[in-house]
Symmetry: C2
Subunit: 405 residues, 2 copies
């Protein structure tokens, strides 16, 4: 991709109404644009990051036997009434009336999945069921101020599973937990599994995936003899006296909820017939990962004072090719661009007629992990520099391709 | 994919509240599920079809230099007020108030793109701009009864372009028209470009892509000496007297709108500075393709009394492998499944413990273009039959793979 054609270009100044590093960096570098408080467009660079994140999640969830589908965003009131959440979650849901019908916008999809399930599942042979989608969620956050870490509208992956027994549910639950750790690890994030309360979702203990980060809205606690970390809300007076207690600021990038049979299956008649012919409630769970929140988390965790530093697995392009416009170097940079592209490497080529200084500072701001320079000085070689390192080296095109593949 | 694990299975009966063939077939075969009037879940099979459609559209639009992004679905009233469409499109839009703020759900995105553009475009050097996304649209259809041909909530690809001149806009406009014809052709659909009025979008003549279909909601007219077909609404008294006039029932699968400068750019100050330093309004256009509507159109156009007949380019799986459970054939069907999968062929393997008759009728209903049978009778060979043909042939596994690659 020629940078001259990419929409839009970097900005010198961060918008004055943003306070978070993630929003400032992602807006300046051209990854997102703010439509209104808590609502952002994923611009072409940001969209590419979201697609790479989705690909990693798909790969890991498909391995657990989960199937992808896509559920609607506009929901009828009656389904939300069956579980009582039309009232219980009134604060956070966007609810409205049109032509005498009442609707809610999706803030989650448990009721929708349970409705699907009761229509299509009859026997124990139809279980377990594991379905997920990537879709938009709407939550009426009162004062969103953390950029894309907390939005009124955001992208989420939500997975739902239904089982014939508690044992089968918990087996799968921890299988998903391990898949989540792997997903975050593949993006360079070390998530900590944390015990937490279930909010409007469940009265059971649930688990959050927390990434340590100084600006995180959450606080978690760890102690050497605890199996898992604990969320602030769940901490008892006794816990506070634990030996070696550590307090960590963090961002919640995922959460998993082992509902059991009561809150959803029983209220909505999500049932199956067991081997003996009796009707039983399904054992139900749900599992979320915030996609846009992950983009924000990556920007918070991986940046320096010059800009973002994308992990290789989710970078919008693998290489940022900077051309210093010395006379006679044009054919060479074209050749480099084409050979890299032919080798299957995703290249952002800064072909603009601007100063070398601006190109270098834009490359640092955008944060692609490898910067290549072609200029008179580099001659037949190419300057190769990692975004995360100070030193550069001169390599042949072949050596560059070998390093990148 | 083992069919025993796929969610959900086929249904014997079509739901009584559906009248359209597309909804009846797609629901019975397990591609979609109805949440409420005009709103459907894309189940795993339907989701796969939508992903294949998206891939074709992406490939053709990227060739025109368009860039993919993702815009929000919840919009602030103020942007819709700038063009007057908050009032003009009140009937079709879902508008609501929450905590004293007024919102609309996306029924289209012209205002959102124009807002993006005026924030990020300044010079003629930043144009043309060509951006698109796949996203959800909400329209308050009063009596949706055509299955997924017309929904209250549906998936759409919308592309927007902005240019420095009318000439550049119209060049690109017809380039997109050609890309559209190619997109539909790749799915086996012969779309007819049709002159039409612009509705709440524009006063200009616009163009629809109409696929002939007996149950289509639209009627178009062609005549041998007309350059293009005409939509019913645009037909004059004079047109009705044309020699060789033909009336065709059809489904609108795409539309393109050459707005010009007035309706959006002028009202919303979408401007650029030209080579002489003067401010000019951008020349603007938008281009839509209904993704869920295309799935419905394909089901309407490609079915017989036994079920759906997917074109190869958008089928959820390439091959439906039916195993007749004769003793001793189990290792062979596993081998066939694995070798096909290893060869990169997408296989739906009916491994259920049900009768051969049910497997065959389910295969016809689901409509995957190739059916393979492994049984005692087929021995070392495999029965190969196209969904669209009566005859089958016995082939070796190698021959099957060669035919499919």
């Amino acid at each position: 991709m020629r940078y001259s054609l990419l929409f839009p270009k970097t900005k010198k100044e961060a918008p004055k109404d943003e306070v978070s590093a993630n929003a400032k960096l992602l807006i300046r570098a051209g990854f997102i644009d703010k439509l209104m408080a808590g609502s952002y467009t994923l611009l072409p660079l940001g969209f590419k990051v979201s697609e790479k994140i989705k690909k990693i999640i798909r790969e890991e969830l498909n391995k657990t036997g989960a199937q992808e589908l896509l559920m609607p965003l506009l929901h009828p009131k009656n389904l939300w009434n069956e579980t009582g959440r039309w009232e219980d979650a009134k604060e956070i849901m966007f609810q409205f009336k049109k032509d005498d019908k009442e609707y809610a916008l999706s803030f989650t999809h448990e009721e929708i999945v349970m409705d699907l399930l009761r229509k299509h599942i009859s026997s124990y042979k139809d279980l377990p069921l594991k379905v997920y989608h990537f879709s938009t969620k709407f939550r009426n956050e009162l004062r969103p101020k953390s950029g894309i870490l907390r939005g009124r509208e955001f992208l989420m992956k939500d997975l739902y599973s239904a089982h014939t027994s508690k044992e089968d549910l918990m087996d799968y639950y921890w299988q998903v937990a391990r898949a989540y750790l792997k997903i975050f690890k593949r993006m360079g994030l070390n998530a900590i599994i944390t015990d937490a309360p279930g909010g409007v979702f469940t009265d059971e203990i649930t688990h959050e995936f927390q990434v340590p980060c100084k600006v995180g809205e959450d606080t978690i606690y760890t102690a050497p003899n605890w199996e898992r970390a604990k969320n602030e809300q769940i901490l008892t007076e006794n816990d506070k006296k634990a030996a070696g207690l550590k307090q960590i600021k963090s961002i919640e990038v995922g959460n998993i909820f082992p509902f059991g049979t009561e809150k959803y299956a029983e209220k909505m008649h999500g049932q199956f017939t067991d081997k003996n012919g009796s009707k039983k409630n399904v054992w139900f769970a749900s599992y979320g990962i915030g996609i846009t929140r992950l983009i924000g988390t990556l920007a918070e965790v991986f940046h320096d004072d010059k800009g973002i530093m994308w992990p290789e697995s989710v970078t919008p392009y693998q290489v940022h090719l900077v051309h210093i416009e010395d006379p006679g170097t044009e054919p060479r940079v074209k050749e480099v661009y084409e050979k890299l592209t032919d080798a299957g490497i995703e290249v952002l080529w800064d072909d603009r007629d601007v100063s070398a200084g601006q190109k270098f500072s834009d490359a640092d701001l955008i944060g692609i992990p490898v910067r290549l320079v072609v200029s008179k000085k580099t001659g037949e070689k190419i300057e190769f520099k990692k975004r995360s390192e100070e030193n550069s080296e001169l390599l042949t095109l072949e050596e560059v391709i070998n390093k990148l593949k």
